[in-house]
């Protein structure tokens, strides 16, 4: 039984920036990232349950894609950057190994 992707994705980025600025974006998604080789205290194996990919786009163009593997900590916390060239609509998508996705969006205005 895998955990439903019901976490509210958390994104931290500035509401506005100047053209040419490089902004920092922090993201966190609550998920156990269970690698599938651990055992519960009762000895039962804990089934694999892993987010495989995170994807950030700015106005439809790729900013970063992260392939997540076994040694990504639970509740994946990812920090990266984006260069602002104008008003920007960001889309953030987390994709489970089984194909399910969760997403959120944010807007950065230009000062």
């Amino acid at each position: 039984m895998t955990v439903p992707l019901t976490s509210r994705p958390r994104i931290k980025l500035p509401a506005s920036a100047k053209v040419g600025d490089v902004i920092e974006i922090r993201t966190l998604f609550e998920h156990p990232m269970e690698p599938g080789f651990r055992r519960a205290p009762d000895g039962q194996p804990i089934p694999r349950d892993i987010l495989a990919r995170f994807h950030a786009q700015a106005n439809g163009e790729r900013v970063v894609q992260v392939d997540l593997r076994n040694a990504t900590s639970a509740n994946p916390y990812l920090v990266f950057h984006a260069r602002i060239v104008g008003p920007t609509d960001f889309d953030f998508v987390w994709t489970h190994e089984d194909g399910r996705t969760a997403s959120t969006a944010a807007h950065v205005a230009v000062k």
Binding site: F37, V63, V64, V66, A71, T72, Y77, V79
Partner: protein, 157 residues
């Protein structure tokens, strides 16, 4: 009297120190020859960077010297790159050398990233060397390695 009265001119210690000094991260970076690489780790590296020959340097790593909790080890990677259309970092790969499996994560960047700096939290089962590879748009690959001690392992608990 020392066992080698004139000093051992090519002792490992001295050579390692020179390599580390050349890389520029004397305190924390492990020279190439000393990093643990099992077949699994080698295969994982080849999967990610193909047959490229990585060069040490060009990457700075911020990690704790000792991770109290191996389940949540903060790592920041900064790669030296202008991040223009002509010259940018295409990917940053993180590899664990003594975990049950070597894969940690790969960041695929683009000029729109603006800056080749990323951070995340990783799991480490025990004291080990973290390997980081940066693939540049011209096909070259840089490499950095750092040893991290782990108080409580974070993979099987």
């Amino acid at each position: 009297m020392s066992e080698y009265p004139n000093g051992a001119p090519l002792s490992l210690d001295r050579r390692d120190m020179l390599v580390a000094a050349a890389v520029g991260f004397v305190a924390s970076i492990i020279p190439l020859a000393k990093a643990t690489t099992s077949d699994d780790v080698d295969a994982a590296i080849r999967d990610l960077i193909g047959n490229a020959t990585p060069r040490d340097g060009g990457i700075s790593l911020q990690v704790p010297e000792t991770a109290e909790n191996g389940a949540v080890v903060p790592v920041t990677v900064v790669v030296d790159s202008p991040m223009t259309a002509e010259h940018h970092v295409r990917a940053i790969h993180l590899i664990a050398t003594r975990n049950p499996t070597p894969g940690i994560a790969s960041f695929r960047l683009s000029p729109a990233s603006g800056k080749a700096e990323v951070a995340m939290r990783i799991r480490l089962a025990e004291k080990q060397t973290l390997l980081v590879f940066a693939e540049h748009s011209d096909g070259t690959v840089n490499r950095a390695a750092v040893e991290i001690k782990v108080s409580v392992g974070g993979c099987l608990t």
